[in-house]
């Protein structure tokens, strides 16, 4: 049989690739990230305070914080599932993008999503504050979306959105405002998570900003758009619209908590580090955090008490989350299954995960999927291999299949969620008859060695004419 696929780097197989945005996103995925702001900061000499959840005393280990619903609270029955979902979300600490959902089938347009608000308030009750200026600044409208800061010597917030015109981005001109937002020194990107999160990789000092940046960027949805992520906003960013759900965390939310988890020395991997587990304990007022529709808040609020462990660290004692009954609340009735411990990989041919037969000239599509589960954000190698009648091909970093008898990595970077991502949309015309097996694999490390730790394959057969 005449070889149709020449033995050279360029091959026929990938030439009709639809360039997916999957790999460009990965290519832009520089392994750095951004963290946020902590509660209890009121003064210039408190800007670098870190607040810890209930029970932390400086010793490392697992910190269990109990969460309950006030037994006599209005809506107590309906609150249970969304509260459990919010608890699981914080426990899993999975950074996501695309977490803003505006869909009448998810949250009716004129209602406020209780789960999203509970997730935000729980964040406060474990020590996180707003990454934006928010209500505590006294500002109105869009000015609340500038990055959290204390006004400097001029006693006023200096607000200039900079050349890019986006409030909260890295080129904002803030005069003598004192930054409160921990940012990654390498990148100043709130939507990317660093491998190590502690004071060696994050800073409050504007002197540590990457070149060209003027202020810490925050997790606002317009900042995310500027940085290439649609429909994404930090859960701790203040401000929610009716009909909107924001039920998963972004990198900024995760990194803020992980910075706290690095302990009093603010170094990850030392003895004072802790992990946090929120535990739902039912309907009781005897818990570390209690949720209640008691109308103490105008909408929703978390009130925490705490004590200073030293000048720079506060430990929460007790948290109470209040909700106002004056709004139409939507209670998610569906318990979200926990994220898988191990990544789940998928690959489909013409939307099928089983072997199929194709004629010459038939449409041929390949899609990959990845649920990173608890390994979201972990550094990994991505591989796509095609075993064909004329040899082995690998997808390279230029998104082309190349003929190679040794593995060629498609990309190295953090594990992210992919849902039905197209890597080929073409026809079988020009491809030799025979059986093809396509494997999509991710590893549990990033060392450019093909481990195919988590992999899935699908086959298709092109029938002879």
């Amino acid at each position: 049989m005449t070889s149709i696929l020449p033995e050279k780097k360029q091959s026929n197989f990938p030439q009709k690739f639809a360039l997916s945005i999957f790999f460009p996103v990965l290519l832009l995925w520089i392994p750095t990230g951004e963290t946020g702001v902590f509660e209890f900061i009121n003064d210039e000499d408190e800007v670098d305070i870190i607040t810890h959840p209930t029970g932390y005393n400086g010793a490392g280990g697992e910190l269990v914080v109990t969460v309950a619903i006030e037994p006599l609270s209005l809506h107590a029955d309906e609150m249970e599932i969304p509260v459990k979902n919010a608890i699981n979300t914080w426990n899993q600490l999975i950074p996501t993008t695309g977490n803003i959902q505006i869909d009448d089938n998810i949250v009716p347009f004129r209602m406020f999503d209780f789960e999203s608000v509970a997730l935000h308030e729980l964040g406060h009750c474990i020590g996180l504050a707003h990454p934006n200026l928010a209500t505590e600044s006294g500002l109105d409208g869009e000015n609340k979306n500038y990055t959290s800061a204390i006004s400097g010597a001029n006693n006023a917030f200096d607000l200039d959105r900079g050349v890019d015109g986006v409030i909260g981005s890295g080129d904002d001109v803030r005069g003598d405002d004192i930054n409160l937002h921990w940012f990654n020194k390498e990148n100043n990107n709130p939507f990317l998570l660093a491998e190590v999160v502690d004071q060696t990789t994050y800073s409050l000092s504007l002197d540590d900003l990457p070149s060209g940046h003027r202020f810490a960027a925050n997790g606002d949805r317009l900042v995310s758009l500027l940085l290439g992520f649609e429909n994404t906003e930090a859960v701790m960013q203040q401000g929610i619209t009716s009909g909107e759900a924001r039920r998963t965390l972004v990198a900024d939310d995760v990194a803020t908590l992980r910075l706290a988890m690095s302990g009093l020395d603010r170094l990850e991997g030392t003895l004072d580090d802790y992990t946090l587990t929120l535990q739902y304990v039912g309907r009781t007022d005897d818990a570390d955090i209690v949720l209640n529709f008691d109308n103490k808040a105008a909408f929703a609020a978390c009130r925490i008490t705490g004590t200073f462990l030293n000048d720079k660290h506060v430990a929460i004692q007790q948290g109470n989350i209040s909700f106002n009954t004056g709004f139409a609340w939507f209670f998610n009735p569906v318990l979200t299954p926990p994220a898988p411990e191990q990544p789940v990989v998928s690959v489909l041919v013409n939307d099928q995960d089983q072997s199929i037969e194709l004629q010459s000239g038939d449409r041929l599509t390949l899609k990959v999927g990845l649920n990173p589960g608890m390994k979201s954000g972990s550094q990994t190698d991505y591989w796509v291999r095609a075993m064909t009648p004329v040899g082995e091909f690998w997808l390279d970093s230029r998104l082309q299949f190349i003929r190679s008898d040794t593995p060629v990595r498609a990309h190295g970077g953090p594990m992210i969620a992919l849902a039905g991502f197209s890597i080929l949309d073409s026809t079988t015309a020009g491809l030799p008859a025979g059986t093809y097996t396509v494997t999509f694999a991710v590893d549990d490390n990033r060392d450019q060695v093909f481990d195919e730790t988590y992999q899935q394959s699908v086959s298709f057969t092109i029938l002879p004419r």
């Binding site: 509660e39 209890f40 009121n42 003064d43 406020f112 308030e121 406060h124 504050a129 707003h130 928010a134 209500t135 505590e136 006294g138 109105d140 409208g141 609340k144 203040q238 401000g239 929610i240 619209t241 009716s242 103490k296 808040a297 105008a298 909408f299 929703a300 609020a301 978390c302 009130r303 925490i304 008490t305 705490g306 004590t307 200073f308 506060v314 004692q317 004056g326 709004f327 139409a328």
Partner: protein, 205 residues
Amino acid sequence: MKAFVWFQICICVLLALFFIQSLQAFQGNAASNPEDLLVSYTEKNKLVQPSGQDIKISVYRDGYVLIVLPEAMRGGGLYHTVLEQEKLDALWTLLTDNEILAFDAQAVREMIKKERRLMKESRAVVTSVSDKTEIIIEIYPNRYSSQELEGLADEDHDVIRHIVWTGLRWDAEQYPHIESIRLLSEIQRELLSIFDRDDLQPIAP
């Protein structure tokens, strides 16, 4: 029979007069003169987007109260009622207390900050509240009674006391010993209690 018919007619006329008067009472007040505004209370809910989701309560000299409930809230819209004289008097007493008229937000904030610093230094329990609401109270201290208005120049009539505070409910709970905060909280309670009145009527759009 004739007497009974006349009786019915009289009852109908009386009822009609009653309803017309009530309607006129509200209609007359619905066009209340802004110069008769005594106090306006605004609760700015900045957590909810889009911005502008504020509760507003305006109380006038004749006791007329106009309430704006934001669309984001259940039953959003306009409402009104009329306060009894004694209620209005009680409210006015609170509003014109010296602690209120002389309220210095910056000084109170400094006081709270100092207290907090002491608590921090002594490792006492400190409190933090997220997502607090801002309230704005505007009082016209020279507008209440006719006697107060007589002899006042126009500019004195319009003297306004403007108070802004964030997290009042929580601060009142935590700092009950700060008299001005306590009084502000009482004013807030009095104004918000108007929502519980049976005679609170929606205003048709």
